[in-house]
């Protein structure tokens, strides 16, 4: 475990100025990697939350850890949002705790179908609403995160 964390940390750090422009890292589930600083070389951290209390609380803790690490761009991304009420509740939670919400991805059966088939959601259902929202999130991230490099 320790070595896994150390490798991610070293690699993310060393990739500064490397060939790829964009790095997208899927981090270890939970918060341990944040408290150890694995993600400290990231420019942006997305804390993915579902619309229920425990998930939101975990997201809030991840968000606060990331801010403490000095990550320039930290956002909450709501996922599997089924109703406008759920979206409102997440937005209210974020406002209450001073968290920036980058966007809300609707619950999308296409994602579950892709999971079952062992395929990429973008290949199974390129027109899905969930895909469109992730595309919008990506655009927003490039707008805010890319400015520093211009």
């Amino acid at each position: 475990m320790c070595r896994t964390h150390a490798t991610v940390r070293s690699l993310l750090g060393a990739l500064v100025g490397s060939v790829e422009e964009l790095t997208v890292a899927d981090m270890e589930a939970g918060l341990e990697h944040l408290s150890r600083g694995t993600a400290r070389h990231a420019d942006a951290i997305l804390a993915v939350v579902e619309p229920y209390f425990k998930s939101l609380e975990t997201g809030r803790k991840a968000y606060e850890c990331a801010r403490e690490l000095g990550i320039p761009h930290v956002y909450v991304v709501a996922n599997k949002v089924r109703t406008p009420e759920e979206q409102d509740a997440i937005a209210a939670f974020c406002r209450r705790h001073g968290l920036q919400l980058l966007g809300a991805i609707p619950y999308d059966e296409a994602f579950a179908a892709a999971d079952r088939e062992g395929r990429a959601p973008v290949d199974v259902a390129p027109q899905a609403r969930g895909i469109a929202e992730i595309a919008a999130l990506a655009g927003r991230l490039l707008d805010v995160g890319g400015n520093g490099g211009r």
Binding site: E21, A25, I105, P121
Partner: protein
């Protein structure tokens, strides 16, 4: 297009939150916009490859980065730090695997239960 962007995005969340779906789908969409994207699976239970569109039987065979890529170095002050044994470009050329839309993927490593901790 977008050549001025240089951004490292880390996606985190509880297990089951859909963080891998978000990370993998975002990587594909960014690559389709013409960006060069490196995908990093930092989860010890890796499944980013499948979300990126690598067939499951191929995904299973992707080797994780070997632990020998890390070296402990002690500087003049006596502090020990962990550094990469080789330049990142060399490591990526050797260990990154291709994924759809020109993405390159590296796996940080599965938990070795026998030797974990």
């Amino acid at each position: 297009m977008g050549a001025s962007h240089r951004l490292k995005i880390a996606v985190c969340g509880k297990g089951g939150s859909g963080k891998t779906t978000v990370a993998g789908t975002m990587a594909r969409l960014l690559a389709r916009r013409g960006h060069r994207v490196l995908a990093v699976d930092g989860d010890s239970n890796p499944n980013l490859a499948i979300t990126l569109g690598i067939p499951p039987d191929e995904a299973e065979r992707i080797p994780p980065l070997p632990r020998t890529l890390l070296e402990q170095r002690t500087d003049e002050s006596g502090a020990t730090r962990t550094v990469l044994a080789e330049p990142p470009e060399v490591i990526l050329d050797r260990y990154a695997v291709p994924a759809p839309d020109g993405i390159r993927l590296v796996l940080m490593g599965r938990v070795d239960h026998a030797g974990a901790g």
